[in-house]
Symmetry: C2
Subunit: 347 residues, 2 copies
């Protein structure tokens, strides 16, 4: 009969592996991969299976993209800025200093041409990517001593990577590369002076406030970092059309869900952290301004030699201007009033 | 053979109708229904079809929920606050004055127990609902004259509905019910003094700035209104499990997508509106404070007699307090600095 092949055609058995850049202990950001897997499996009655592997299980976390690019795995759940060592353009699909907040990033990605531009770049590595999570604005990190002016950054040994590290090094910071598990003992011994990790919910698990109590905000280098699902393009192109569509839908749902989860968990965590000794400090306007200037200088220099970077950064910059003009008559004044009520203890 | 029944089991043919509360001309908010339909159809190779009908095609826009409740249609794409005439609790799943912004609403809905609480209430009408869009903070509307103090609201005839209308009426506003198409001529003739519609992208189509040039912000009664897909519960319960899961995934993707689209389109529209004569004005702190007080008074009174309202509102209030505490060390200071750069013309 014709029936049997029609079944095979309809929901073919497919098993993919997702290499995650994250450890299972960061269950919110790691959780994007099992969330996607659950949605895909349920919608196809178990026929399209994605198996998530934590950082280190197949490849080290910072090689997840490479594993998908080479076809070792079909998918990576990772963050573009981990790969800036290859090309700074990688960072533009995730977060760069003083760019967009989470909503701005999503608006640009899904409707402002961002996804198409970034995929043009990812295609050169045999990948196609879809947003797969966001943390919201991260924290600026944990400091053993207060820093008040740009001069206080001079010689500061800070665990911070990528473009943010390059920007801060222009102000005298000495960026350090350290795995998650080494941060606490290094802060305790004073071999580093500061460290950035993620945000309250994730930071709370590591107890940094005991060894570096000053908790600075905002993490201006990550206003709304996009986490990505990056798929091996040949594997994606080989899917039946209805699986491709379902995968895009499930990625968009997973993407939204991660931010929703962080937005629920971070408020709880920040209260606990403060109760346990964290001292909240804002970066001073002088420090923010100096870092903004350093960022512009760095990007202007990259743009002179990197056409991919220039093309995408110009698109982000154009939308950034519109985004922060508009927010002044919409969410920002609403939030300002609500924050004023919160401060007056009226909520 | 066994194959034929297996096909039928796998992706059964289902055709549902979605009654939308919106006209096709508001393509962004109306677009949620065709977006969902496209995702569902594509993922099931055309087997699960949802047919969207604009307001008035099957039932009037403000009866979409009733049509899904009674089973006239299987689904409604609507906003809870349209039904406050039946019970003010309907509004709590969408937006009430001085509650949550879009991210806060999503955090509460998906991870803070909001969806379960609201569905307990919707269940009484034979419905189950999932968020299906958000506009972000809306505008406060169009005014023929400037309003500066609460006294200026006295006797003001404003097109505004629901709980916001009740709050403003405590300050002397006379709420008016008018269909979308009647707003412009009424403002022009002066039979009303002010009107709220949605936000820049939707408002721009109607040309209000020509007859009521003062465009106030923020729409404090809609900090982050959730649009809903409401399904007839018996129809939803009758779906195979994999269709249920797929529907939830596609609703979450559609929900995110609407906000992403508004966040891209509104900045473009606000610039055009100002170029065409709209004069932006913030509501004064005095007016905001007076409306906040009036809201608290109204809600305290509703809570004394409405247990459903009280249960859900207490949950929103508890999260609101945490949300606006946390945002002060995360997105809010990041946005503040970016807004300051925008104002200084440095972006």
């Amino acid at each position: 009969t014709l029936a049997a092949p029609a079944i095979a055609q309809s929901n073919p058995k497919i098993t993919w592996r997702i290499a995650s850049s994250f450890p299972k202990s960061l269950e919110t950001i790691y959780g994007g991969a099992p969330d996607l897997a659950k949605m895909m499996s349920e919608a196809t009655e178990g026929n399209f299976t994605l198996q998530p592997f934590a950082a280190g299980e197949i490849v080290p976390g910072l090689q997840a993209m490479d594993a998908a690019s080479s076809g070792t795995v079909e998918a990576a759940h990772t963050v573009g800025y981990y790969y800036v060592g290859k090309d700074p353009t990688w960072a533009l699909g995730s977060a760069v200093p003083f760019a967009l907040n989470a909503r701005g990033m999503n608006a640009w990605m899904y409707h402002g041409g961002g996804m198409a531009l970034y995929n043009e770049f990812l295609g050169k590595s045999g990948l196609i990517g879809f947003p797969g999570g966001n943390t919201g604005t991260q924290m600026g990190g944990w400091f053993r001593k207060e820093i008040k002016t740009p001069a206080d950054l001079q010689g500061l040994k800070m665990r911070i990577a990528g473009i943010a590290g390059q920007v801060l090094s222009k102000l005298g910071v000495v960026p350090q590369q350290l795995a998650g598990g080494d941060i606490y003992p290094s802060l305790e011994r004073g071999t580093i002076d500061a460290a950035e990790w993620v945000g309250p919910h994730d930071d709370e698990k590591l107890g940094f406030q005991k060894v570096a109590p000053f908790y600075y905000y905002p993490g201006f280098w990550e206003g709304g970092p996009t986490v990505h699902f990056m798929f091996n393009k040949a594997a994606y192109d080989g899917l039946p059309e209805h699986y491709k569509s379902l995968l895009r839908t499930a990625c968009q749902a997973t993407d939204a869900n991660m931010l929703q989860k962080y937005d629920y968990l971070n408020p709880i965590a920040i209260r606990k952290l403060v109760a346990n000794g964290a001292q909240l400090r804002p970066f001073s306007p002088e420090i923010m301004q100096a870092c903004f200037d350093a960022t512009n200088e760095l990007f202007a220099s990259i743009e002179t030699t990197n056409a991919d970077f220039k093309k995408i950064w110009e698109s982000i910059k154009a939308f950034r201007k519109e985004n922060y003009l508009y927010t002044q008559v919409a969410d920002y004044p609403f939030d300002s009033f609500m924050v004023s009520l919160q401060r007056a203890n009226k909520l």
